[in-house]
């Protein structure tokens, strides 16, 4: 029950994003790019979920200036690096995130400033309840003796 109530705090209804056509196009592009970079570095599925969660929460906030075409790319880089730092053990440098045909390339300083903007906009809540939290919770209830389920999760 606490998982469900906690999920609501950081979960967005689809309607907020769907209502704006141009925003949806920008989002699709950025998410595609995020997925490519994650495949490139072999990050876990949770990193993916986190990065997209941060991205969605940020673009639906007031801090997001949609007029600038490079904005969504910068936000995507910042969200991805934040997610990697929260979840991964090996994190590339800021500049090295900009692979896989990144449309714009930003200086590390710029990305860092965006990281801070994202962090304060999301009120530093970087551990949202994700669908994976529920999977983990339910699997624990089965009480497997071996680590089979862990191996399964790693391959997700």
């Amino acid at each position: 029950v606490s998982l469900i109530s906690k999920e609501k705090e950081t979960h967005l209804g689809q309607s907020v994003l769907n209502s704006d056509e141009s925003l949806m196009v920008a989002r699709r592009e950025s998410v595609d790019w995020i997925l490519r970079v994650i495949a490139h570095y072999g990050f876990t599925v949770l990193t993916t979920v986190l990065a997209v969660n941060y991205f969605d929460r940020f673009i639906s906030s007031l801090s997001f200036q949609r007029e600038k075409p490079w904005m969504s790319q910068l936000v995507a880089v910042a969200c991805l690096s934040l997610a990697a730092k929260v979840e991964e053990t090996q994190v590339p440098l800021l500049l090295d995130f900009q692979v896989e045909e990144s449309k714009f390339v930003f200086e590390a300083k710029t990305i860092q400033r965006m990281e801070l903007l994202v962090l304060s906009t999301l009120q530093w809540k970087m551990n949202p309840v994700t669908p994976l939290s529920f999977v983990d919770h339910i699997v624990r209830r089965f009480g497997f003796k071996t680590n089979l389920h862990l191996e399964f999760l790693w391959r997700c």
Binding site: T44, V45, L46, A78, S81, L82, K85, V86, E87, T89, Q90, V91, L93, L94, L95, A108, K109, I111, Q112, R113, E115, L116, L119, S120, Q123, W124, K125, M126, N127, T130, L132, S133, D136, N147, L150, L153, W154
Partner: protein, 326 residues
């Protein structure tokens, strides 16, 4: 007090220097509350905001428990320097002997909120001397455990409080590592020295084995196939820990909290339910019942209970002092 910070806080003298920042004493000018202010070192541009900062703040911002250090604010000034404001606490652990319950409650709270601290050491436990409350701090190494971690980063947890499964290179680890650290801290509190203190990883492991006995397939299935399981170790038998600890409580601590096999190690929740703590709880429950039945007697009974609890902890401290002096 010299520097003014963001109109709201005054920056005072330095009270601690960590690997990731400097901690100042400070004053909230609006509420006159004394606070601790952690200043980040200037960020290294190549990496952006350090992951320890992100983890520490994001963990603490969602935790509210009496035994966890409270994060009051995150602020930046015009020069884009960032500060975290904490409640101010006195930093001393060794004087207090009956704080295990509080430490365990804090750890259990973290685990319940799917957070592993991963770096529990005496330095990271703060005490409010006035209220005798212990708080867990420094969540720079903490992580949420929705997902099992594959690769293990060996810097996690100061080596003396590291659980054997980490030292042996187990690919999976869990909240049990925090319980091991708590067990080591309890032992240190009693003995005024570290129970296991090896200079290197291997020496440390040998020390653990020489006291707790060398683990084998029977006591810990799968242990011999862990990557760093040292070959050709002498077969140590567990020492009679009760002689070292000579106290029922610490016997329990060593047997269950310092159990080598993480799967058999007691959880923070179960440790709290242990007989030692149950006595305390029963008293509290009794007290509650009484207050419901007899609200007028409430204060009297409460005072009596406090006296009993005090005398219990007093005798405990006496035993401890006697032990450490012989």
């Amino acid at each position: 007090m010299e520097k003014l910070l963001n109109w709201q806080y005054k920056l005072g003298k330095v009270i601690g220097i960590g690997a990731y920042g400097i901690v100042h004493r400070g004053l909230n000018l609006e509420t006159n509350q004394i606070v601790a202010i952690k200043r980040f070192y200037t960020f290294d541009c190549k990496n952006g905001v350090p992951y320890t900062t992100i983890r520490e703040i994001s963990m603490l911002i969602e935790m509210y428990h009496i035994n966890i250090v409270k994060l009051l604010d995150v602020i930046s000034n015009t020069k884009n320097e960032w500060y975290i404001i904490f409640e101010y606490l006195d930093l001393d652990l060794e004087k207090y002997m009956y704080i295990m319950h509080q430490i365990l409650s804090g750890v259990m709270y973290c685990h319940k909120h799917r957070i592993m601290h991963q770096d529990l050491t005496p330095d990271n436990l703060l005490i409010d001397l006035n209220a005798s409350v212990v708080k867990i701090a420094d969540f720079g190494m903490a992580r949420a455990f929705d997902f099992p971690l594959r690769a293990y980063s060996p810097e996690v947890v100061t080596i003396w409080y590291k659980a054997p499964e980490i030292l042996l290179g187990s690919p999976v680890y869990s909240t049990a590592i925090d319980v091991w650290s708590v067990g080591c801290i309890f032992a240190k509190m009693l003995m005024r020295q570290n129970l296991f203190a090896g200079a290197s990883k291997n020496e440390h492991l040998r020390k653990i084995f020489s006291i707790m006995g060398t683990p084998n397939e029977r006591t810990w299935p799968g242990v011999t196939s862990l990557p760093y399981y040292p070959a050709g170790l002498p077969e140590y038998y567990p020492e009679v820990i009760s002689i070292i600890f000579a106290s029922i409580f610490f016997y329990f601590a060593s047997q269950e909290m310092l159990c080598m096999n993480p799967a058999r190690r007691i959880s923070a929740r179960r440790a709290l339910g242990h007989a030692y703590f149950k006595k305390k709880k029963r008293k509290e429950k009794k007290e509650k019942k009484m207050t419901i039945l007899d609200p007028i007697e409430k204060k009297k009974k409460k005072m009596m209970m406090m006296m009993i609890l005090d005398s219990v902890s007093f005798t405990f401290v006496v035993v401890v002092v006697m032990l450490t002096d012989y």
